[in-house]
């Protein structure tokens, strides 16, 4: 089909955004495209962009739902601005044009540009002004009518065939990106196995889109072939951060021998961690959908007392509600993993947008001196490892651990190199020995300061725990010295975790003039920005934190080496503030963004260049 006279440009990476009404199936198009790309050797990352409403009125801006795919040779994030945008109706075009790169290709379903739809989208004049046509390559595809026609040829009702419009757009994209349809055809056959007509319809529409593009001269000079990735050997899959988190916990449960318990309550964007775990009763995962977040964490604390690898998952407002019980977990020194998939705050805030503004709450949001471990994942795929690590630390150090991810990581997807569970680091829970006459509830390991875990049902270890201060032997006491000692011990136990974690690393150009500091979900854009700058001859060092509390032991050494430090985060400077409490001697600049959006490489480079120039 593909004729030899067409120009195919090679590119390192490509960003495509599929945008349409909430019901238009943009998420599916995007997923199919990214899966096909991955299978043909590209690295990928994806990110969905939902509205807060489930299905706001048809053709309104509020109802637009997007899905962005970034494919290429080495992909750290789902990308900033787009090379290609699909807009299934006027509202999608209107609200997504701001994401287009200069000269981007924009594919619209021209059939949807009726007067009433344009008015609903807020257009007063012609959406396709001369400037617009000049600035972009606009492909006006008659998607609705073509799809309807194919449907009617197959005797399918318009209401049904309409649902395949997304396949047309996908076909166009496949053509433009110089890819084959086989894999997607196979997927469609698998997915709708029992509905032959649906398979046929979708496949036909897909092909129609592809052929439409083939006939469109306009496009011929815009065909791109994206470089494939050189990835370490191994078996791969595509995975979202929330699923990776769930699987990491499952793996930790299997390796530690402690049955998994999740006590949780739905909340965007964390719900999918629970939804995923709820599927895996066969693997022994017990999921309890509690009546609220407080019952979620309290049930987890109870389960932990009873011997489970206990977890609770939530987002900002839910973490707020868990504050009091987190203090209890600190006090009773039981293992507990709290997953916080951050979103835009404060309060209900921007539930479907991403942010890193729960850090302060994770570090400090409890009454009294209530130290605990905080770690953060930095990519959708490594949510798996950080969930695993969080569980390992909780079980081995007998303490609650907060794992910070965010909506961007949680909903976004990435390639994931599948590990063997046996190859993961071992986990040894600190179980007490039945009938040990020396067992005392708060006796500590002299090295780690962790206490032992005696489970109800074990013989000869009956004891009581609780939120009131206790002496190391167990009973209650208000003795001043004892309180001072226990406060010290609980803090020291967390501090000593630093002895068990690897050193912090510096990447980019370690001898650079500027140290870029990041933490958590921003590593994609930061890595790329630093890489590009070093490629451009600037000298920039970069260090990204996953261990937040305690910090790796060499953190101070690193920070003290650089004259210029910039701490970059999607909040008003919470990590920077935290670093200052520990390393006040290191002057730090901040680069902050609180817009419900991830960093863009461009803005980062601009900021770093400015600092270098100062």
């Amino acid at each position: 089909m593909m004729q030899g006279d067409k120009k195919v440009t090679q590119k390192d990476d490509l960003v495509i955004r599929f945008a349409g009404d909430s019901g238009d199936g943009m998420q599916l198009s995007g997923t199919l495209f990214s899966d096909a790309s991955a299978l043909t050797g590209n690295d990928i990352a994806t990110f969905p962009d939902y509205p807060a409403e489930i299905r706001a009125p048809h053709n309104t801006i509020a109802g637009v739902s997007g899905f962005q795919v970034h494919v290429g040779s080495h992909i750290y994030s789902s990308g900033d601005k787009c090379d290609i945008i699909v807009a299934m109706n006027p509202a999608s075009l209107k609200s997504n044009l701001k994401w287009a790169k200069k000269g981007a290709t924009i594919i619209v379903d021209i059939d949807t540009f009726t007067d009433s739809a344009m008015e609903k989208a807020g257009y007063t004049g012609d959406p396709f002004s001369e400037e617009l046509e000049h600035a972009y390559t606009i492909v006006k595809a008659p998607i609705s009518s073509f799809t309807e026609r194919i449907g009617s040829e197959m005797g399918v009702d318009k209401k049904v065939s309409e649902k395949s419009r997304n396949m047309f757009a996908l076909g166009v994209i496949f053509y433009i990106t110089h890819k084959k349809l086989d894999q997607t055809n196979a997927y469609l056959a698998r997915k709708f196995a029992k509905k032959t007509q649906v398979v046929q319809l979708n496949q036909a529409v897909l092909r129609e889109g592809y052929e439409f593009a083939d006939k469109l001269e306009l496009i011929h000079s815009h065909i791109v072939e994206v470089a494939t990735a050189k990835m370490p050997k191994g078996r791969y899959r595509n995975i979202t951060g929330n699923v990776a988190t769930a699987w990491g916990l499952l793996a930790a449960s299997e390796r530690s021998g402690r049955p998994l318990f999740l006590g949780s309550y739905p909340i965007t964007p964390a719900t999918d961690v629970m939804v995923e775990l709820a599927k895996h009763k066969a693997l022994g995962a017990k999921v309890f959908q509690a009546e609220d977040e407080i019952a979620g964490i309290c049930s987890a604390i109870g389960a932990s007392y009873a011997g489970a690898l206990a977890c609770t998952s939530t987002s900002g407002p839910g973490l707020s509600l868990k504050s009091e019980a987190l203090g209890l977990a600190v006090m009773v020194e039981l293992p507990l993993v709290v997953v916080d998939v951050q979103r835009g705050g404060p309060s209900t805030g921007l539930p479907t947008k991403t942010e890193q503004s729960d850090l302060n709450q994770a570090l400090y949001g409890r009454n009294g001196e209530a130290p605990l471990i905080v770690v953060a994942a930095s990519s959708s795929a490594n949510c798996f490892y950080w969930a695993y690590t969080a569980a390992k630390l909780a079980l081995e150090h007998m303490t609650p651990v907060i794992l910070m991810t965010d909506g961007y990581l949680g909903n976004g997807s990435q390639l994931f190199r599948i590990p063997k569970v046996a190859d993961l680091p071992g986990i040894t829970p600190r179980l007490a020995k039945p009938n040990d006459p020396n067992y005392r509830p708060f006796r500590r390991d002299p090295v780690s300061f962790a206490r032992e875990w005696a489970l109800p049902g074990m013989e000869g270890l009956r004891h009581r725990v609780g939120g009131l201060e206790k002496c190391p032997d167990g009973p209650l006491t208000t003795d001043p010295e004892n309180h001072a000692l226990m406060v010290y011990n609980r803090q020291e136990k967390v501090n000593r975790v630093a002895n068990y974690i690897p050193d912090q690393e510096v990447t980019g150009n370690p001898d650079g003039d500027l140290l870029v500091v990041g933490w958590g979900g921003t590593s994609g854009a930061l890595t790329l920005a630093v890489e590009e700058m070093n490629n451009e001859g600037k000298k920039v060092a970069y260090t990204h934190f996953n261990y937040i509390c305690p910090l790796p032991k060499n953190t101070g050494d690193i920070l003290r080496k650089y004259k210029k430090i910039v701490v970059c985060e999607l909040n008003n400077g919470q990590f920077a503030g935290y670093l200052r409490t520990q390393f006040p001697e290191c002057p730090m600049r901040q680069y902050n963004k609180v817009m419900g959006l991830p960093f863009e490489v461009g803005e980062l480079k601009e900021a770093f260049n400015k600092i270098l120039g100062e």
Binding site: R235, A282, S299, R462, V465
Partner: protein, 344 residues
């Protein structure tokens, strides 16, 4: 589905002493909690549950100190959250016999939501509510069960809050077992608690308890020896609802509600007296019984006790079924499921 029992039996016979802890009991002398503790300590040996498999869970309040006084596993959690903590304990390890102990404030003020939800789910645990109609530990503020109009620290002009009736609340929440007991009648309390322990599902026993410091004689109008026989009725399943010193009073159903009658007066015979059926699914009559006061005697004993699969059973059955039929046998299976590909 066959009935499943998860808690292992002990192979020795325990005595009360086996369950008495070495911790000093720090309630006020004369507090009703002492009697409730004694009743509990008497129940444990009768359940024949293995001592190591008993777990006491409480919230915060005078009454919630009880885990320290019982020589089993125990969790003195935070205010209002005992039911939630206990839910995790029981779900994680169904072989534990879980006892939840709470004050009226702990269970129905801050903890009200967890209480109605544990009851709704019919999780197999035993709940005891120490109802002294006051916040004891914080020194005398009104609770959700304090009598209307009562003067307390926070209601210097009398409360205007209508109290909950714990029985009605429990049954409104789909409760399968509700009983009322009196701290001043420990043997009866032990008997009731034993029935609660034998019930499969969430059993709730409300014990009317005296706080002699902050709400002394709150229940005296019905518990005083002088009036008790006429002011309370002890319900027994399958038996007519008879009360009174002379055991000649009874309850009759008049087609819309219950009324107290005297046998032998106005042509009332034993046949008119209603027979107590704790097992009817419908809550209507049980609600009427729980609600009685004033002219009607306060109902003591097991008011409702119906059979319904427990959350524990349903949970474990579903787990077993999934394990038997699940596609993945280990996490490696899961990691490699669906679309994956090899990079050489």
């Amino acid at each position: 589905m066959t009935k499943r029992h998860f808690v292992p039996k002990a192979d020795i016979d325990y005595t009360k002493a086996d369950f008495t802890s070495d911790q000093m009991v720090k309630w006020c002398p004369g507090c009703g909690d002492h009697a409730i503790l004694a009743s509990l300590l008497n129940v444990f040996p009768k359940t024949h549950h293995k001592k190591e498999n008993i777990c006491m869970v409480s919230g915060i309040g005078c009454s919630s100190r009880i885990p320290y006084y019982v020589d089993t596993y125990g969790f003195h959690s935070i205010h209002g959250r005992a039911c939630a903590v206990a839910t995790g304990v029981k779900l994680a390890n169904p072989s534990l016999s879980v006892w939840i102990n709470m004050g009226d404030g702990d269970s129905m003020a801050i903890g009200g939501n967890h209480l109605i939800h544990i009851v709704r789910r019919n999780l197999d645990v035993n709940v005891t509510i120490f109802n002294n109609e006051i916040y004891g530990l914080t020194k005398g503020q009104y609770s959700p069960t304090t009598k209307f109009g009562q003067i307390t620290k926070t209601s210097p002009f009398g409360t205007i809050d209508y109290p909950f009736n714990p029985g009605e609340l429990i049954m409104g929440a789909q409760g399968t077992f509700y009983a009322r007991a009196l701290d001043v009648m420990p043997p009866l309390t032990t008997e009731i608690m034993l029935k609660a322990a034998q019930h499969d599902g969430t059993s709730v026993v409300e014990v009317l308890q005296n706080c002699m410091i902050f709400n002394d004689k709150a229940h005296a109008a019905i518990t005083d020896k002088a009036v008790r026989d006429d002011k309370i009725i002890i319900l027994e399943h399958g038996k007519p609802m008879i009360f009174g010193k002379e055991r000649n009073k009874g309850l009759r159903f008049n087609g819309r509600c219950l009324e107290a009658v005297t046998i032998g007066e106005n042509g009332v015979t034993m046949d008119d007296i209603m027979i107590h059926d704790e097992t009817t699914e419908d809550t209507g009559i049980h609600m009427m019984l729980a609600r009685m006061k004033g002219d009607l005697p306060v109902a003591i004993g097991v008011i409702r006790n119906v059979v319904k699969p427990t959350y524990t059973e349903l949970y474990e059955d579903q787990m077993d079924e999934c394990k038997a039929n699940g596609k993945y046998k280990c996490v490696d299976d899961l990691l490699n499921s669906g679309d994956t590909w090899e990079v050489e």
